[in-house]
């Protein structure tokens, strides 16, 4: 182990990644399995000149970080499924006002209170569609402690760059895993675009990037925010054309930049005849299973989603090689597989592999599945 390596827990890595990315405001509410993030931030924020506040619930937590973001801070909150449910209205608000915020959801077993200390990947669709109305979010999925650190930095940067909520979709196992990670490399820092001219200032007027340069409150721009449909001025309107243009822009500011946002990790995809598509902790079992299959002469490969959303069918199709069979292991009753089936239609055999007992899918289980299903 190099001298630069430090042993860190997944949740600590999220907190340290956020700090490295410039987060200086954290609001949260205790919930298993994400509480160590709040505890780390409670200790660390004062050390770096930041602010930690424990709010009365998750509704208040997300709204507090939205407020701090409007006041110019880079912000984070962390939660798990039950709290993530409460944050959904605030998530929609942040999409609408285009406030850069980062939410860490450490997935535990649901629905409802479920099993607080057991892992799942059951919040995938909630992360994408949890709040009402057409909206677009960026969802990143770490599969290690190192990646929890790196993807939290990336999440903060993407939130700032696109003025959009970014969700880091972790899980109970990664949250509590301890692994050596390298935090010695100074991160790239991205800051949000800000207006320069007060004359003619319109908070939601955009250039070709479609990302507005909204002023920070308290900087003399006399800016305005509302969750109501608004035009370039930021003020409410019920004009259907303005509404349509707004919602389209909220989509296009991300979808015009999919090369920047979307990341996969592929392994031996090119000549695979059985391809595993997975994300998060499940991808670690897949990785070992693929090695085992290769050693037994099978042509196996893996595609791991680092960016889960935006989800681009064409990019997935191109990245997937030509494997005739696609296996989708996930710790839910079949959420990612719905998207994979949409991508491939009837052109490939798409096989779900689901586990919903609160345990991980082991490499051996994947091998057994391949054998039993004659894949």
């Amino acid at each position: 182990m190099s001298e630069k390596m430090v042993l860190m827990q997944g949740n600590e890595a999220v907190a340290e990644g956020a700090i490295a990315a410039g987060v200086r405001f954290y609001a949260g509410y205790p919930i298993t399995p994400s509480s160590e993030i709040a505890e780390t931030m409670a200790r660390r924020m004062p050390q770096v000149g930041g602010t930690f506040i424990q709010m009365e619930d998750e509704i208040a937590s997300i709204m507090a970080i939205v407020g701090a973001s409007m006041a110019g801070k880079k912000v984070l909150t962390a939660t798990s499924g039950p709290g993530f449910s409460l944050m959904q209205e605030g998530l929609g608000y942040a999409c609408m006002v285009e406030a850069p915020i980062v939410i860490l959801d450490s997935m535990r077993y649901g629905p409802s209170t479920g099993m607080a200390t057991k892992v799942s990947q059951m919040d995938l669709m909630q992360a994408r569609w949890g709040t009402h109305g057409d909206h677009w979010v960026i969802v990143l999925s770490p599969s290690s402690v190192e990646e929890s650190y790196q993807l939290t930095i990336r999440a903060v940067n993407l939130a700032e760059k696109y003025r959009n909520p970014v969700i880091v979709l972790s899980d109970e196992t990664i949250s509590h895993l301890r692994e050596p990670i390298d935090i010695s490399i100074p991160p790239t820092i991205v800051d949000r675009k800000l207006p320069t001219e007060k004359a003619g200032y319109a908070p939601y007027k955009t250039d070709e990037s479609l990302v507005p340069a909204i002023a920070t409150v308290g900087t003399g721009f006399r800016t305005t925010f509302t969750g109501l449909v608004h035009g370039e001025s930021g003020f409410q309107t019920a004009n259907g054309h303005v509404a349509e243009a707004l919602v389209e822009r909220l989509r296009d500011k991300l979808f015009n930049n999919l090369d920047d946002i979307i990341q996969f990790e592929t392994d031996r995809v090119e000549d695979a005849d059985v391809l595993f598509m997975s994300f998060g902790i499940t991808a670690r079992g897949v990785s070992e299973a693929v090695e085992s299959l290769l050693s037994h002469g099978r042509k196996a490969g893996s595609l791991r989603f680092i960016t889960l959303f935006p989800f681009d069918d064409d990019r997935v199709r191109k990245a997937a090689g030509s494997a005739r069979t696609v296996v989708v292991p996930e710790l839910n009753s079949g959420q990612l597989v719905l998207l994979i089936k949409r991508v491939f239609g009837d052109s490939r055999k798409v096989v779900p592999l689901n586990k919903i007992n609160g345990d991980l899918i082991s490499p051996q289980e994947i091998l057994n599945f391949v054998q039993e299903e004659n894949l």
Partner: protein, 264 residues
């Protein structure tokens, strides 16, 4: 009042003829003017409802949030930039029902924001439903046979939760209202002003309170100044509400709940 505190291009406002919200907003802008605050450092944060449309008519930074959520957003803004004067504009339902939890916790924390409750005793925006401040027996669209619930006393609620400045006033007593708004904003710590206004369209009409003008002038009959209330008998105070300053605790005075405690 300084006209440059308003965004004239956003007027006229959406409020009904005879609504009391404009008078509360006027009083608030007057208080800000009297305090000689830097307009660039004033942020108005609101929730959802008739009252919460007020900030967007002002020329300050303004944040129209979600129903009940103005206080946590204001908390985030204030903690992120303590140099700002952060004022929450909210209604009776917005602050005491859906936002009630945020209200008591902000009071408990003594976060240095001011909450101005435009209290018209019902939900105006959605058609005159009962709020937690609707008096018992009152008629609203959701209490067609009279309100069975008892209302909160917002002053006592805020005081009990630890607010270090609490006042109540009514729009008939404009100078009284401005004075207490000014003191609330100047107060170092969590402050709340229960600003009683009228909703002639719903609450007034359903409860036969007369015209908007009659609703305003009637305030002098059913509001009693705190300074004289102590000299009145319970019978004399029946059906009346007391206006004035109820809590004013210097933040770091020994009696303040917010003062750091000596370690035993």
């Amino acid at each position: 009042m300084r006209l440059d505190f308003l965004r004239s291009e956003r007027l006229p406002n959406i409020w009904c003829p005879g609504c009391g919200n404009g008078i509360v907003l006027h009083a608030l802008l007057e208080a800000i003017d009297q305090l000689q605050l830097d307009p660039d450092k004033v942020v108005l944060v609101s929730g959802i409802g008739c009252s919460s449309r007020a900030p967007a008519y002002t020329a300050f930074d303004n944040v129209h949030t979600l129903h009940g959520r103005a206080i946590p957003v204001a908390t985030g803004i204030k903690l992120a930039n303590p140099d700002l004067t952060v004022i929450v504009v909210t209604g009776d339902g917005d602050s005491s029902a859906i936002g009630g939890n945020h209200l008591i916790h902000a009071a408990r924390r003594d976060v240095d924001i001011t909450v101005v409750v435009f209290n018209n005793y019902n939900y105006g925006m959605t058609g005159g439903q009962a709020s937690p401040l609707t008096p018992d027996s009152s008629i609203t669209t959701t209490t067609p046979n009279g309100n069975l619930d008892r209302p909160f006393d917002l002053v006592n609620l805020a005081a009990g939760a630890g607010a270090t400045y609490v006042a109540r006033s009514g729009i008939y007593f404009t100078k009284h209202l401005v004075d207490h708004l000014r003191k609330a904003i100047a107060h170092d710590g969590f402050s709340l002003v229960d600003a009683v206004a009228q909703c002639p369209t719903y609450f007034g009409r359903f409860n036969k309170k007369g015209s908007a003008g009659q609703m305003v002038t009637s305030q002098k009959d059913w509001m009693v100044l705190k300074s004289v209330a102590g000299k009145k008998t319970p019978d004399e105070l029946a059906g009346k509400i007391i206006i004035g300053e109820f809590v004013n605790i210097e933040r770091h005075a020994p009696e303040s709940a917010a003062a750091p405690k000596e370690q035993a």
